[in-house]
Symmetry: C3
Subunit: 653 residues, 3 copies
C-alpha cells in the first residue's frame, strides 16, 4: 500500500505565493482534510537560482510547516522545467522538431531527452534534493520530473541522432541487421554504417516505417532513461517509494515499459465535463493504470476540481461530476485523490485552471466540494490497498498504436478509438476490464478482446492462443496480426498462427473510401450494414475473409466483400471470434452480449441504464449513476434506486 | 480641417507606367474631379536606384504636372518596400518568424521593425524627400510608409530580441520587477537578467501570458517608433500635416497610441461587396477612425472602386454599393474619398485590384461612377471639417484583444466579433456610436457599452463608474475586468470594483464545450436560451453569477448555470447592466432597445428597415438604404421613401 | 511501335528479395504471360554500394534469367533515390523548401534538381549501366529515373537560386528585360542585377507573379535537364528507345515540353476504385498521354492490380474495375499494361500497395485477374501501334495552370477541375477527345474547346482563330486570354484578338463571393442559374459581358451581371461560342450537345447510359460499361447489350 493512503491533496507551489499566504494554505488544508501535498514540481529556478547556487531555505520552511500539521510530502525532483539561465548558457539542451525548429524558453519542458548537459544538471539537482530530504519523515514519496513527454516527446536534434544511433547499435548489433530489419532494400535506403542513420526528420515522402517505429520506441526509452537516472539517485539516498505521473492513454510513451520502473503508478487525467463519453474514457484510464501496475493500487495524481484551461472551451464540473469521477478512481484502484493544484494561480498560463482553493476562496461551491470529498475519502480508508477483480482483458499495445499512426497503411485507423469502442461496450454492460500487455499471461481471464493489434510477436500470438486453449473466449478484430515487430508482413499470411485459432483466412482489405478524389473528403466515416445472426451498422472497414473452420455469424452486404464473412466464431476449446469490421451502436452491444455469454462473464449488476457504472473494490460495490435519469439497479436479488448524478456504496462479500 | 478637403483621388504610381501615359492620367484626373493624389508609396527602388544613388527627376516631373493643374500631392515617404539591393547588401534588415524563418525579397514589407540598418536607410530616404519637397506648394500632406504592420507586424529576430529587452528594461527597470509582473515563479521561468529574456519564439507549450502581451505591445511600439522617426524628420523640414494609413480594426497595432502621433487619422478599408454585413463593419471602422482622432475629421485614404484581388473570390461593386459606402465615409467624418489606386495595374500582384481607371479605360461603368462621385463629393464641400455627434460609446481595448487571443483562456473568444455584435445591434437601431479608449473621460455619453473587456486598469474601472455616477447607463458583458494589465487576476474578485457598480459577483465561468473529445469539434458555437423579462437565444458563454444588488432580467435555462442570472440591472445613479452571455438575433435587439430606453437615447430616424443607415454630419442627415427593399423613413414628423440602394441627403438643423 | 508490344508486366525489384524467390518469380511471370519487366528503379544503393564501388552481379543474373525465358527488360537508370552514403558525404544534394527546411534521407527522391553533385553521381551511374547493358538483347527500353518531381518538384536552395538566375539570364539577357517582364516597378522590386534575384522563398506577402511563373517553368526545366543528361548518356551507348514515367495531369511538369524528349510517352496512374468519377479521370489521362506524343502510341507504365497504400483509405479493385481500366488504356492508345509492382512488398513504405503477386500468392483473386488480363492482352496484339482518331480538341496549358494557382487572382479557380468538367461532358457523350498544346496546329479538328486559358501567346490566339476560320466550331470559357506570357494584362482588352473571334467584350469579372467575412468560408462553390435558350445551374463565376457581334444564348439571372450575356454564339466561318460561367449538371450536357451539333461531330455510339465508355482503336470498338446497370448500345444500325461491369470489343471498319 502507498504510504499514508488515502492521499488527499494536490500540487502545492508555495514558491509562487508570498509567505503570508502559506499559513492560510495550512489552515485550509486542514479544513479540507488534506493528507499529502506534491511539492516542488516547477521550482528548479527557485532551488537553483544560478548555476550551482542552491537555495533550499524556502523548501525547508514549507516542508516543516506541512510536517508540523501531519501532512505528508510527495517530493518532486523539479527537473521538468529548466531555468532560463540554463538554456542561455547551454542552448544544446533545447529540443528540435523534425523540421529543424528549436523550441526555446518561455513555457516549460524545453529540454531534449537526449541532452547530456540537461541530464548532468538534472542529476545534480536531484542529488542535492535527495541529500537534503532523503530521510525527512515528511517525505512519503518521490515524484520524478512531471508528465514526461507531455509537450516534447520526440527530439530530432543532432545529439538525439547520436543517441538514436547508439540505441540502434545496441538493438541490432550490426548495420546489416538493421538493413534487414528495416527492409532498406526498398527505395535504395541501404545504410553503410550506423553513422548514416538519422531520426525521421523532414523528408520528401513516407519515411521508412521501421525507422519511424524504432524512433518512436527510442523516444519513449530516451525519456525513460532520464527517469531511471533520477530513480538511481533517489534509491541511493532514500527509502521512500518513487513514482512519476503518467497521462492516461498517452501515445508517445510505452507505459508497459515505464510501469516497470516505478514503485507505484500514478496518473493525471482531466475528463471533459462537457463530453458525456469522457467518464467512460476516465474509467478506461483508471483500469489501464491498475493494469500497468499488475493489479497493484495506483494513485490519481492530478485531477481538476472544476474547469481546466487548455481546451478551446473549458467547461466547469458540477458537484456531482466531481464526486462521481473521484469515486470512480477509488473504485478502480486509486489509493487517493490528488489534484492540480492546491491554490488556483493568479498569474501565468494556468490561472484559469481550477484549484482546490479557487480564485473566490473558501466560500465557493468548489471549496465546499473539496471539503466534502476529503471527508468522504477518509471514510473509504478500508478500501485503500485492496485489489479490483476483472475477468475480461483487452490487449493493448504501443507498437500497434505507433504502426497504425503511420501514413502508408491500408487506412488511417484511430487506434485509441478502436480500443475505446470495445472498452465502452463492456463498460456499458457493467463489466470490469483489465488491460493486458501483448505476450503477458492471460490465464485467469474468461474473455480476451484483441482490437486492431496490427503488430504482433510470437509471444503475443501464443499468449492469446494459450488463453483460448485454457478456456477463455477470444475475440480478435480486423487489422490484427498483420505485421511482425519490425513491420514486415507476418509469416504465413495475415493473422499468422491465429488463422488456425480463428478458423479464418484474410485475403484482402477493403476499407471504405471517399467518393470523389477531386473533392475534399467528407467528414466522418461512411457506414454500411452487415447481416446474419448478428446484424446492424458497421463503419470504416471491410475485408475479404474466408471462413475455413468457423461459423459465419454475419456477412457484409455491400461492396467488394459483399456476401463474405464479417463476423465468425470458431468452436475450439473455447469460442474464438473474428470481427472483420468496426461495429457501431446497438450491434456493438449485441456482440458484447454474445462474447460475455460465451465467456460466462456476468455483469456486476443488472440495470437498463448504460451510464450506471458498477465496480467492486475492497468489499464495496460502487454504483455511480452518470445519467440524467434515476436508475433502478438489481444487485443479486436486491433492487435499489440510484438517483441521477448520485453514488451508492454497498458492502458486498 | 485637412488642407484642400474634400480630397478626391487615390494612390498614383506613375513610375509603373511609361511617360506617354502620364498626360492621359492628368486629363482623366481632371475629368474625374481629382483634387489630391498620393504619390510615391512604393517608389523607393526608383528614388534610390543603388545605395546612395538618388533619382528625383521623375518625381519632380510628375509633381509639377499635378501642380500645374491644381492637384495636390499627398507625398509618401516610400519606405514601405525596401529595394532588393538593400536586402542583398544587408540581410539583417529581414524579418524572422517565431519559427525562425527569414522572410525575404519578392513581395513587400520585408523589413524588421527593429532593424537598425533599415531605420538608417529609411531615415536617409525621408531626409532626402523632405529636403527636396518639404516646402513644395503641391505637397498638401505627408504619408509615412504604408499600412504599417500589414504583413509583418511581429519580428522574432535576434535584433528584435535585443530591442524587446530594451523595451522591457525601460518599462520594468529591474528584472525583479519583470519577474513579478510576469509571474515567472510559475513553471520555473524566473529570469536572472534581461539578457535571458526572448521574444515568444517557438516553444514546447503555452508561452508566459504576460510575455506574450508585452511582446504584442512592444511590436506595436516598435513600428510606431519607425513612424515617429519619420515624423521627426518631416517636422524639421516641412509644415504640411502628417498621416499614415491605418487598416480599420487591425489587431497588431494599438491605434489609440498611434493616433496620438498623426496630424490627422487616415484609413484603408475594403468591405466585401458580397458580404451583406460588411457595410456595417465599414461603418464601425469609420466611427473608430473618427473616435481615434478624438472626434476630429479623418481621411478615407484607400477604398476600391470595385473588386479587390486578395480574397478567395473577389466580388465587384455595383454602382450603388460604391456610392453608399463612399457617402457613409463622408457622413461618418471623412474629409474626402481616396482610392487604391488611380490606374489599375497591368502587371504585378495587384493587377486584378480595381482602379479609378480600370483596364477597360474611361468608357466603363467604373470610370463613370468615379466621375459621378467626384461631382457629388464636390457638392458636399460644406460638410468637410465638421463633426459627428454620438451619445453612445463602446469601450475598445487592444490589451483585451491581445489577451483574449491567447490560448490558455476560459474559452477562445473572438474579440472583434463580440465588439461587432454590439456595434451592429446599435447600428440597426439607427444610433451613432463612438469608440472610447479605456480610462478616457466618458462624460457626455448617455450609454456606455463594455464588451468582454478582459483586461482593465484602475483608470478603466473608474471611468465607467464615474460615467454611471454622472448619469450614463452602463452595460458590461461577461469576461470583463478579469485581469489587470499584467494579466494577473484582478484584485477583489472577478469584475473588481465593478462588482459594486453592477451589483453582481461572478463565481465561475461556464463556456459551452464540445460534445466528444474523440471527435473533431463541430463547426459553429452551440446556442442555448435564456428566459425572463428578456428571453431568447444566446451562445458560447454562461457563468455562475450572484445578483447581490441587482434585478435579474433573465436567467440561464441550461447547464451548470441554470437558474442563475444571465442578465442583471442595478438601479444606481443610473442603470448598470451586466450581461453574462452572448445574446443572439432578436434578443440582441431587445437588449439594445432596453439599454437605449434606459439611457434616453433616441434613434435618428424611425423605420422598419434595419439596413437603412442614418447619420448626421455638418447639418446634413445622410440616409443610405443598403437594403434590396425600398424603405419608409420617419424623420421627426416627416415621412419619406428611400429607394433600395439609394441615398437621400437632407438638411437638418 | 514500341518494341515487343504489347508489354505486360510491371516494376520488378529482385534486389528486395532473397534469390530463392527469383525462380518462383520467373515461373509466375510465365504463368501470367509477362512480356516485359521494369528493373532497377530503386536499386542505386545496391548497384553502387559505396562511392565508386559498383556491383552489377545481381543485375547481370536477373537480366539473364528474364532473357532466358524471353522476357524483355525496361531498364531503369536507378537515379531516383540516392543512397544514404551519398547524402552523408554530400549534403549539398539535398532539396530545400521555401521555408528553408532541408529534406533529408529516409524516404526517396531526396535530391535537388539543380545539385551539381547529384548530377555528377547520377551521370556516372547511368554511364556504368549503359556501358554494361547498352547492347544487351534483353533491354527493350530505357527508363530514366522515376516519376520526376513526384515529391520534390521545386527546390529553393542556394544552388537552386544560382541555377534559377542562370535560367533567367538565358531567357532575358539583361536585367532590364527581366525588370520589364516581371513588372518590378510595382512594389519597389526593381533588380539591379541577376545576383539580387531569388527563388520565391518565404516572404511577407504575394510574390511577384511573373517570378512565381518563371520559377514554375524553371523548376520543370531543371528536372527535364536531368532527364536530358541521362538521355545523352544513353544515346551514346544504346539504340533502345528511352522513356520516363509521367504522372497524368501533373501540375509541376509541363509535359508538352517533356514529351519532346522521350521516344515514347509512358504514364503512371492510379484511379481510386471508390471514386466513380475516377474512370473518367483515367480516360482523360490516357487521352492526354496519347496527345502528348502527337497521337503516337504510349505505354501505361504503372497501374495497380488492386489497392494502393497512400490514400487515407485505400479501396481494392474488383475484377471488373481492373479489367475495364486496363482495356480503357489499350483502347486509348497504350501499347501494353504495366504495373507497380510485380511482387507485393513485405517490408517498407509500399507493402500495402497491391502487386501482380499479392501477399496471398497465386491462389488469389488478384493473381487470377492478372493471368486473365495477360491472356486477353495477348489477343489484342493487332491493336498495338495503331492510332486513335479524335475530332475534338481541348486546349491544355501549364502556364495557365500555374498562373491560376497563384493567390492574387480574381478567384481561386481549380484549373484541373475546369478542364475535367469539359472532358467529362464529352466523355459522357461517347466522343473521343485529344488534348492540344496552345499554339499547335488545330486543323483536322471539328470542335476546339478552350477552358480558362488565362495565359495566352499570340500563337495560341492565332491557332484557335485559324481553326475557326478553317471551319472548326470553337468554344472559349471565362477567364481565358486575360494575361500574356509574362502575366501582363493582354493587349487590347480581355480576350485580346478573340474579342473579334467571339464577338464579345468582357468588362469586369464577378466571381461569386462568400457571405460573411467574419465567418469561415462555407464548403463548396455557390451556384446560380442562367436562363435563355440554354438554361440551368452554373457555379463560381459570372462577369459583365457585352455581345458586340454574337447571339446571346443565355443570360445571368442574379447579381451584378444579371441580364447580361452568360453564353454567346457568333456565326462566323464556323460558330464561335463564349461561355462566361461554369455550367453544372444537365446544363453542361446540353451545351456539349449544342457544340457537337454545331461541329457535326457524331458520338461513336448511341446509348442512354452515360457511363458506357466507347473508343475505337485499330479497327476495334471498345465498349466498356462502368455502370452498375446493363446498357443498351446502338452502333450504327446494330443494337447490343453490354452487361454491368462488362466489356465488349467489336470489329469495325
Amino acid at each position: 500500500m502507498i504510504p499514508r493512503a488515502p492521499w488527499f491533496g494536490g500540487d502545492y507551489n508555495p514558491e509562487q505565493w508570498p509567505r503570508e499566504v502559506w499559513d492560510d494554505d495550512i489552515r485550509l488544508m486542514q479544513k479540507a482534510g488534506v493528507t499529502v501535498a506534491t511539492v516542488g514540481v516547477f521550482s528548479w529556478a527557485h532551488l537553483e537560482t544560478a548555476d550551482g547556487e542552491f537555495d533550499f531555505e524556502w523548501l525547508d520552511a514549507i516542508i516543516e510547516k506541512l510536517h508540523a500539521v501531519g501532512i505528508g510530502v510527495d517530493l518532486a525532483t523539479a527537473t521538468a522545467s529548466p531555468p532560463p539561465w540554463l538554456a542561455l548558457a547551454h542552448p544544446d539542451i533545447l529540443p528540435v522538431t523534425a523540421d529543424g525548429v528549436t523550441l526555446g524558453v518561455g513555457s516549460r519542458q524545453h529540454y531534449s531527452p537526449s541532452s547530456a548537459t540537461y541530464r548532468r544538471y538534472a542529476k545534480r539537482l536531484v542529488e542535492k534534493l535527495v541529500a537534503r530530504y532523503g530521510h525527512h519523515p515528511a517525505v512519503v514519496a518521490w515524484h520524478t520530473n512531471n508528465e514526461y513527454g507531455c509537450h516534447v516527446s520526440r527530439c530530432y536534434s543532432d545529439e538525439s541522432a547520436v543517441a538514436f544511433r547508439a540505441w540502434l547499435q545496441e538493438k541490432y548489433g550490426t548495420i546489416a541487421a538493421l538493413n534487414d530489419a528495416w527492409g532498406t532494400a526498398f527505395w535504395s535506403q541501404r545504410y553503410g554504417s550506423f553513422d548514416e542513420v538519422l531520426p525521421p526528420r523532414a523528408m520528401p515522402s513516407f519515411p521508412n516505417p521501421t525507422q519511424l517505429l524504432d524512433f518512436d520506441r527510442f523516444s519513449s526509452d530516451a525519456l525513460l532513461d532520464l527517469h531511471r537516472m533520477e530513480v538511481e539517485v533517489i534509491r541511493a539516498g532514500s527509502n521512500a517509494p518513487i513514482t512519476t505521473n503518467f497521462m492516461g492513454l498517452f501515445e508517445p510513451l510505452d507505459y508497459w515499459k515505464w510501469a516497470e520502473q516505478v514503485d507505484f503508478v500514478s496518473d493525471d487525467f482531466y475528463p471533459d465535463p462537457a463530453d458525456e463519453s469522457s467518464v467512460i474514457v476516465a474509467a478506461m484510464h483508471r483500469d489501464l493504470m491498475r493494469s500497468l501496475g499488475g493489479g497493484k493500487p495506483w494513485m490519481l495524481m492530478e485531477q481538476a476540481t472544476s474547469a481546466v484551461n487548455w481546451r478551446t472551451r473549458n467547461a466547469p464540473k458540477s458537484d456531482s461530476q466531481y464526486r462521481l469521477v473521484s469515486l470512480q478512481s477509488v473504485a478502480r484502484g486509486s489509493d487517493g485523490l490528488m489534484h492540480f493544484q492546491w491554490r488556483q494561480s493568479n498569474r501565468g498560463a494556468e490561472k484559469f485552471h481550477s484549484g482546490m482553493v479557487p480564485h473566490g476562496g473558501e466560500n465557493t461551491r468548489v471549496f465546499r466540494r473539496v471539503e466534502a470529498m476529503g471527508a468522504e475519502l477518509a471514510g473509504l480508508a478500508d478500501v485503500m490497498g485492496t485489489e479490483v477483480e476483472a475477468k475480461v482483458a483487452i490487449v493493448l499495445d504501443w507498437d500497434s498504436w505507433w504502426a497504425l499512426r503511420q501514413a502508408a497503411n491500408p487506412a488511417q485507423l484511430d487506434y485509441r478509438r478502436t480500443v475505446f469502442a470495445w472498452y465502452r461496450a463492456l463498460w456499458e454492460k457493467h463489466v470490469t476490464v483489465d488491460f493486458a500487455r501483448p505476450g503477458a499471461d492471460l490465464s485467469g481471464y474468461d474473455l480476451v478482446v484483441v482490437p486492431t493489434l496490427q503488430v504482433v510477436t510470437d509471444a503475443a500470438l501464443a499468449a492469446v492462443a494459450e488463453a483460448n486453449a485454457a478456456g477463455a473466449t477470444v475475440a480478435v478484430t480486423y487489422q490484427s496480426a498483420i505485421l511482425n515487430d519490425t513491420l514486415g508482413v507476418v509469416d504465413g499470411g495475415y493473422l499468422g498462427s491465429w488463422q488456425d485459432l480463428l478458423g479464418v483466412r484474410v485475403e484482402e482489405f477493403a476499407p471504405y473510401a471517399f467518393p470523389d478524389q477531386f473533392e475534399n473528403a467528407p467528414a466522418g466515416a461512411p457506414t454500411t450494414t452487415i447481416a446474419g445472426e448478428l446484424s446492424g451498422t458497421a463503419s470504416g472497414w471491410s475485408e475479404i475473409v474466408h471462413a475455413t473452420d468457423a461459423e459465419v455469424k454475419a456477412t457484409f452486404t455491400e461492396g467488394i466483400a459483399a456476401g463474405g464473412p464479417a463476423i465468425t466464431r470458431r468452436s475450439g476449446e473455447a469460442p474464438a471470434w473474428y470481427i472483420a469490421t468496426q461495429p457501431e451502436g446497438e450491434l456493438m452491444g449485441a456482440i458484447a452480449d454474445a462474447l460475455l455469454a460465451d465467456a460466462g462473464v456476468t455483469p456486476l449488476v443488472a440495470t437498463d441504464e448504460p451510464r450506471l457504472e458498477a465496480v467492486v473494490r475492497g468489499g464495496k460495490l460502487f454504483l455511480l449513476n452518470h445519467s440524467d435519469e434515476d436508475a433502478t439497479v438489481s444487485v443479486g436479488s436486491t433492487e435499489l434506486q440510484v438517483a441521477a448524478g448520485e453514488a451508492a456504496i454497498l458492502s458486498v462479500d
